[in-house]
């Protein structure tokens, strides 16, 4: 009973303070500036308790934009390993979901971030509007962190 309450409390606190880090794996910048727009007055992600900084070692959520280019194929898993548990990955934009327009003959990109690291949520669009990004982040992430202790966390050091 106490354990359950503790888990609930942990989940509640985690879902109220989420730190976000954006990594551009070779995209065209379109998604990055739309994410940047989410942190300004009009969309203001910080009012939901989501804080943006770019240090992967302190972050909870990794937002990936862009197709995974040749140089990033080994660096992206390394960056993912640096993020402490519990962690979630959101792929923003068509390129991060599937490679997008660059994933055709002649291009040298991987087919999206999901080929290299586990992805928890995808926001398609080229680029997705800021309100779509806000909706995805606000709906998915707090639930994910609230349930994490019950679903994936637990005793064995996971």
């Amino acid at each position: 009973m106490v354990c359950c309450l503790l888990k609930k409390l942990k989940g509640l606190i985690r879902s109220r303070s989420i730190h976000v880090s954006v990594v551009n794996t070779g995209g065209c910048n379109g998604c990055d500036i739309e994410i940047l727009a989410c942190f300004t007055y009009r969309y203001d992600l910080e009012q939901y308790g989501i804080y943006y900084h770019n240090n992967p070692r302190k972050t909870d959520v990794l937002i990936v934009t862009g197709p995974v280019t040749e140089q990033w194929k080994d660096k992206l898993p390394k960056l993912y390993d640096k993020v402490p548990e519990p962690k979630a990955v959101v792929a923003v934009g068509s390129c991060a979901c599937s490679g997008g327009i660059f994933n055709q003959d002649g291009g040298r990109v991987g087919g999206g971030a999901a080929e290299f690291i586990p992805v928890d949520a995808e926001v398609p669009g080229c680029p997705p509007r800021p309100d779509e990004i806000v909706k995805a982040v606000v709906e998915v992430l707090p639930t994910f962190f609230r349930r994490w202790e019950f679903e994936r966390g637990g005793g064995d050091g996971r």
Partner: protein
């Protein structure tokens, strides 16, 4: 003792008792809080002072020119737009302009005017985000948020005209995709005059008068005329040093509305910021005049693509953008070479960063150059037998390797 000590931080060697300056290499990137895009800047520092700087690129290479080969222009225009998300309209316009110059007939006059109206709006939002990024790099968060907020209003204007915020897909061969009625254009001008112009004037006043911004920006990262000639710096970065080069003077619509390039003299970080604010205000004036003189008629005419070799130039927000293309009859792209303004603009960092008093100043100088890494990555060299990358984005080394093999 104090006057004998060398500049910077020193350390005493315990074995020999000598005093040595600490030298250090600081890699910035490819994933770093200050960078929006992946790029590696290698700084060699002595104490706090930056003594050497190397820029390493190649993290964004997607092979756009290769994918473009064998595509009809209707598809390739979308690909050209996605070279860069911030100045996407300039890329689209330059590509379509190249296809039009090997076609029969002339594009629609009204279409041209509408095209350049959106181009100026695009320039405003690009300059505002560039200045916002600079203020973020000198930790002035208030100005960052204000600039971004004004940019939202400009994006609203673009959305009102084209239907999308960025990556608009606005240009087609012969004109533009949709016609715009007068009410929409008047609404746009109303927003620009009532919201954007007073805001930008305030920001310009703050930037030129605020003592803290001045301390961080005046005299830091000076680009001289000699460097401009050596590195071929283009765009507002060159105009801030007094070099009045602007492709808009030879583009079609601009001479009719009385365009003149703006220059400033010092060539440091602050002047680059101020030139961008000046150009934002100038762009608003240009838009007003274009809307006044907007000709009536079709927004799009049918044009038959004849084919041939073409070099087209446009003034993108960051400077001169060149598309060198071979197009076959019917409009299939045979070969494309894209030269973006950010290539020389980022390279010049290797000249201005050494001598900066601290790493933070070198990073601020980088942000003031309005770098767009996504534009840059044009080639990698691949070893076919081993299927591994030999060089990526290091132009000088590739050149040296090529020379050593052929001489």
């Amino acid at each position: 003792m104090a006057d004998k000590a060398p500049r910077g931080v020193t350390v005493i060697d315990l074995d020999t008792g000598e005093e040595k300056p600490i030298s250090h290499h600081v890699p910035v990137g490819p994933h770093h809080p200050i960078l929006k895009e992946p790029l590696r800047i290698k700084l060699a520092i002595r104490g706090e002072e930056v003594v050497d700087c190397k820029v390493e690129m190649g993290y964004c290479h997607r092979g756009i020119e290769k994918i473009m080969e064998g595509m009809p222009w209707q598809k390739a225009a979308f690909l050209a737009e996605r070279v860069c998300g911030i100045c996407s309209h300039a890329h689209n316009m330059c590509f379509i302009g190249a296809v039009e110059s090997v076609s029969e007939g002339e594009p629609a006059r009204r279409g041209l005017f509408l095209r350049y109206i959106v181009q100026e709006l695009d320039r405003i939002q690009s300059h505002l985000i560039a200045n916002a990024a600079y203020f973020y790099s000198i930790e002035h968060e208030t100005m960052f948020v204000w600039n971004m907020n004004t940019r939202e209003r400009v994006l609203d204007c673009i959305e009102k005209i084209t239907g999308n915020r960025i990556l608009t897909g606005w240009n087609v061969v012969g004109g533009v995709r949709l016609d715009v009625d007068e009410d929409t254009l008047n609404e746009v001008i109303e927003v620009l005059e009532e919201k954007v112009v007073p805001d930008v004037e305030t920001y310009r006043k703050i930037a030129s008068n605020d003592p803290f911004i001045k301390m961080r920006s005046r005299g830091v990262g000076v680009i001289t005329e000699d460097m401009i000639r050596r590195y071929r710096v283009v765009g507002p970065q060159a105009r801030a040093s007094g070099v009045a080069q602007d492709i808009r003077t030879i583009e079609p619509v601009y001479p009719e509305v009385g365009f003149r390039p703006i220059t400033r003299d010092h060539g440091d970080n602050l002047d680059r910021i101020l030139v961008r604010y000046d150009e934002v205000l100038q762009s608003v004036e240009l838009i007003e005049r274009m809307v006044e003189e907007l000709p009536r008629g079709d927004h799009r005419v049918e044009m038959k693509v004849e084919g041939g070799h073409v070099v087209n130039r446009t003034e993108a927000p960051r400077g001169e953008l060149v598309y060198d293309m071979e197009i076959s009859r019917g409009g299939v792209v045979k070969k494309a070479t894209i030269r973006t303004p950010s290539v020389p603009n980022i390279r010049v960092l290797e000249a201005i960063a050494p001598g900066a008093p601290s790493v933070a100043d070198a990073v601020a100088a980088y942000a003031s150059l309005d770098p767009c890494v996504a534009c840059n990555e044009r080639f990698i060299v691949i070893d076919r037998d081993k299927d591994e990358i030999v060089f990526s984005g290091k132009a000088r080394e590739v050149l040296r390797a090529c020379r050593s093999k052929t001489s």
